[in-house]
């Protein structure tokens, strides 16, 4: 892979993160939690995608991102209020952006029609809303929009009025003035009248004029593969340029750092375009250079580009405000004049804007710097998350395999030591105990490396919900909880499908149409809650809706019609609810595009069971249903009961076992020609002879000769597994049979025991199901090895 491809790969990885940021930001705005920093973060995400896409000449992506970004910029500058309708549009726009990125990554073709429609919609907002709002000379901070009245710290925002009559194009207001913040520092609302400032930057250019552009790139600019020559070429497109180079900072050759930047350029550009357009040329490099753009003949003033430039006296400061109406812009790449944006309120420093303008003290530059600092910190936050490293997952998998082998080896060693009759107090046995603890510690740590928050799965769900809601014509609000819940990567990968199914089901079958909801006295908008939590060493995923609940009468009727249950079956409410998991069951009157695609809940349940998980549903008529999915935290190790069956050693997952018992002969009743049941506390459970089901022996072993493991399968049904003896309980490392062979009926996986031999892990449900399969073909008897 060449270098460019490598960088491109990194870009797409970053895109994933940016798209996730984008979506979570928009969702926060939708929930009314967004402050102006959220809007900025959303804008930056799209902006960065666009910037990176530009570098790789991904034209379609750039074009789309540009329209999206333009609208977001209008939202950011409060030209357009972030109304709920707009946020919904933005969310769909974000979905399309994700599609575009995917298309760019795979080289595929994005959905042109959807993109064009969305571009039209976005442009409609830009033109329609922007034009309507623009002429207003003063504008209050839009309530519930970016500058929310209160943020989570409980800091109040008081909208203040700024008269900016001269800037008809940019009615940017909403400068914050909080009465008190957390620290008890008072902010005094100030009245800024910018009308008296002359604002050359915003005046529509009358005709051709000369601009002096001083451009001093930092090393970082070159490190990001930008090139001055290209920027100059872009400038030249705007008009004739005269370029001179400033090499005054150039050092002698022996001190020269080849990766550093020493040169500056001074460009005289004659053009009729506005300053903004010139500045746009430097859009992607504005963080990595010092850039001044002034009209020829005008006093040259340092303008905060990457950092707030130190300003020595108040006069210069005022001149700075004069020259460029950007006062402490929230982001450094800010171009449009945003006046005293909201983040200033969050500044911990006791700053009031007033001294900047009024007090003629040398201290003035400090507040200016302080004002610039907090937004900068906030701006850098997404770019510099806590120190993490990217590791190829294969390396971690290899490490986990090795640790698995270490665990096996340690167990083998322990067994050998035991065989040689060392006393538990002997040095060897004690050393071995320590080794065991260390091994466990290593294993836990390695598993923790691979643990990931379920967020990566959850963040795909809002989009799914939007799509399903659109298709079904239902209004849905998705509430997500516990996104930080960590679970092993092997489980994460398998969560997506069941969650998708559960959500589709909750919206399609659970929620009513808005009209029905209103008729039932509910909010027209249904709520679906998706939550993750740890419970009892497992991860539990809940999908809850506030819909109509399961129609038990209908479920029962369908189950009877389809011959799934007998007409006279007596079922509890819970049992009835869980009938929907039976194969061949589908309550949708017509097969809808969403849930009834032949892949029903039975398939979901089977795949969940294959992972050692359970899924169930409970429901209250009229109030909604709740799906509960529980899975082991990892698919790499398992707590199991080691049993002997006809000379074979098998492992039964502990999660399936309710209890083990040694039956008395009077508790066992024959039922049918071969079957027998065991009376356990007044209920009869069918007995399953594991040895004969698996073909380890031909004749049924009398249950009284062995032990019975009472197991519960996923439908809540119980069975008694007959085994010869129980060896003990052990944590085992799960080894797939499929990687080198194939799936074997009745066997979930294999593991390696302390003696180095392979033992099979029983698939309890499958074994119980195998027993039911009648008539059984005679199986060749397998002899235990040796």
């Amino acid at each position: 892979m060449d270098e460019l491809e490598q960088i491109k790969l990194t870009f797409f990885q970053e895109c994933d993160e940016l798209l996730a940021d984008l979506e979570s930001g928009l969702l926060a705005m939708e929930a009314g939690e967004g402050d102006s920093e959220t809007v900025n973060a959303v804008f930056r995400a799209v902006h960065s995608v666009k910037g990176g896409a530009g570098a790789f000449a991904l034209e379609a992506l750039v074009r789309y991102a540009h329209v999206f970004e333009t609208l977001l910029d209008d939202v950011r500058s409060n030209k357009i209020a972030a109304s709920p309708e707009l946020v919904r549009v933005l969310l769909r726009a974000a979905d399309i952006l994700a599609d575009q990125v995917t298309a760019a990554r795979t080289g595929g073709v994005p959905d042109e029609a959807a993109t064009a429609a969305m571009v039209g919609e976005l442009e409609g907002w830009i033109n329609g809303q922007g034009g309507a709002a623009a002429p207003a000379p003063t504008q209050e901070s839009p309530a519930g929009a970016p500058s929310a009245p209160t943020d989570e710290l409980g800091i109040g925002f008081t909208p203040m009025t700024i008269s900016i009559d001269d800037f008809a194009a940019e009615p940017t207001a909403a400068a914050p003035a909080a009465p008190t913040d957390e620290l008890g520092i008072g902010f005094t609302p100030m009245q800024l009248d910018l009308a008296e400032f002359d604002a050359p930057a915003e005046e529509a250019p009358a005709g051709e004029q000369a601009w002096i552009i001083t451009f001093h790139p930092h090393a970082a600019l070159y490190a990001k593969a930008n090139e001055t020559a290209l920027l100059l070429r872009e400038l030249e497109r705007l008009g004739p340029i005269e370029v001179s180079i400033d090499d005054s900072e150039l050092v002698s050759l022996e001190h020269l750092d080849p990766e550093s930047a020493y040169l500056s350029w001074i460009v005289r550009l004659t053009t009729d375009v506005a300053e903004e357009v010139i500045r746009d040329v430097f859009e992607f490099v504005s963080d990595d250079c010092e850039l001044t753009i002034v009209r020829e003949g005008q006093e040259e003033v340092a303008e905060p580009a990457a950092e707030a430039a130190p300003v020595d006296d108040v006069a210069a400061l005022i001149a700075q405000i004069n020259a460029e109406p950007v006062v402490a812009a929230p982001a450094q790449d800010e171009i449009l004049p945003t006046v005293a944006a909201a983040p200033v309120v969050a500044a911990p420093a006791p700053v009031t804007p007033e001294p900047v303008v009024q007090a003629a003290t040398p201290a003035a530059p400090a507040p200016a710097a302080a004002k610039a600092a907090p937004p900068k910190a906030a701006a850098n936050e997404p770019a510099q998350p806590q120190a993490t490293i990217r590791v190829d997952p294969e390396r971690i998998d290899r490490l986990i395999d090795l640790v698995g082998e270490l665990v096996i080896n340690q167990a083998m060693l322990a067994q050998r030591v035991g065989e040689h009759g060392f006393a538990p107090s002997s040095d060897i046995a004690m050393g071995l105990d320590e080794l065991e603890q260390l091994t466990r510690g290593i294993q836990d740590s390695v598993m923790a490396i691979r643990a990931q928050p379920v967020k990566s799965v959850f963040q795909r769900m809002p989009r799914l919900v939007r799509e399903v809601a659109n298709q079904t014509g239902k209004q849905v609000r998705l509430v997500m909880e516990g996104e930080g819940t960590e679970v092993d990567k092997t489980v994460i990968e398998r969560l997506s499908d069941p969650i998708t199914h559960m959500l589709r089901n909750a919206i399609d079958h659970g929620l009513e149409s808005p009209e029905d909801r209103v008729a039932a006295g509910k909010n027209g908008e249904g709520t679906v809650r998706l939550a993750a939590l740890h419970r009892g060493g497992r991860i539990v995923i809940e999908v809850q809706d506030d819909g109509r609940g399961i129609n038990r009468g209908r479920v029962r009727q369908i189950a009877i019609d389809k011959g799934l249950i007998s007409p006279d079956a007596v079922l509890t409410d819970e049992e009835t609810d869980n009938l929907i998991f039976l194969p061949g069951f589908s309550t949708a009157a017509k097969v809808s595009d969403i849930s009834g695609r032949g892949v029903g809940m039975d398939v979901v349940r089977r795949s969940v069971q294959a992972l050692g998980g359970r899924i169930s549903i409970s429901s209250r008529p009229g109030e909604g249903s709740i799906f509960t999915l529980s899975l082991p935290l990892t698919l790499a190790v398992l707590d199991g009961m080691v049993i002997d069956v006809a000379g074979h050693t098998l492992v039964v997952p502990l999660t399936a076992i309710i209890e083990s018992l040694r039956p008395k002969s009077e508790e066992i009743k024959a039922l049918g020609p071969q079957g027998s049941v065991l009376a356990v506390r007044d209920t009869y459970v069918p007995l399953v002879d594991v040895g004969s089901v698996l073909g380890f022996r031909n004749d049924l072993m009398p249950a009284t000769d062995g032990v019975v493991l009472l197991v519960e399968n996923e439908d809540g049904g119980r069975a008694g597994l007959v085994a010869d003896a129980i060896q003990g309980q052990r944590q085992v490392v799960i080894k797939s049979l499929e990687s080198n062979y194939r799936q074997v009926d009745g066997i979930a996986a294999a593991t390696i025991l302390g003696d180095g031999r392979v033992a099979l892990i029983l698939d309890v449900d499958a074994v119980v199901a195998l027993r039911r399969r009648e008539p059984r073909a005679p199986e060749p008897i397998l002899h235990a090895a040796e």
């Binding site: 074979h648 080894k735 080198n740 194939r742 390696i752 031999r757 090895a785």
Partner: protein, 155 residues
């Protein structure tokens, strides 16, 4: 001259030859990962009888195929002198149980003859060609064909 020698070395393929009963077979040496002695396998239920079960190969679960049984030959109970040839088949690694490893052969393509038509179905599907070395006839096993049936079973 040197060039010709190099060329012919390049053309040579090497095979591991082994015995099952009286017959000799071989597999391409490039597919062989290792050769190890017999260790008791854990039988798998619900599998064809030529699957001997699985063994622990340094932490991995390795299925063992009784090649004699797979080829329809007389299968003997494995002894201490039985050998497992660990071969790679696509994504999978499996162990072939054979009686003994006999030789390493270096043969050119011309030395490999097509399987004659007289052979029975099993031989025809699993034997790719015949190699004659010092008067012995050695059948080359098409080991990738041992596997598709496994996949068909799994489906």
């Amino acid at each position: 001259m040197a060039e010709t020698v190099q060329q012919s070395t390049f053309d040579n393929r090497e095979f591991i030859a082994f015995c099952i009963g009286e017959q000799e077979f071989c597999v391409d040496i490039m597919s062989v990962r290792e050769i190890r002695g017999w260790s008791p396998a854990t039988p798998l239920p619900q599998t064809p009888d030529y699957m001997r079960g699985v063994i622990n190969l340094r932490g991995a679960v390795l299925p063992i195929m009784d090649l004699a049984s797979r080829l329809g030959l007389q299968s003997n109970e494995p002894s201490e002198r039985s050998v497992i040839i660990v071969v790679r088949m696509g994504e999978r690694t499996i162990g072939l149980l054979v009686d003994a490893v006999s030789d390493i052969l270096s043969v050119t393509q011309e030395m490999i003859q097509a399987t004659p038509d007289v052979a029975c179905d099993k031989v025809k599907s699993f034997v790719r060609g015949l190699i004659t070395v010092e008067g012995r006839m050695i059948s080359e096993i098409a080991n990738e064909r041992l596997l598709p049936e496994l996949e068909a079973l799994a489906a």
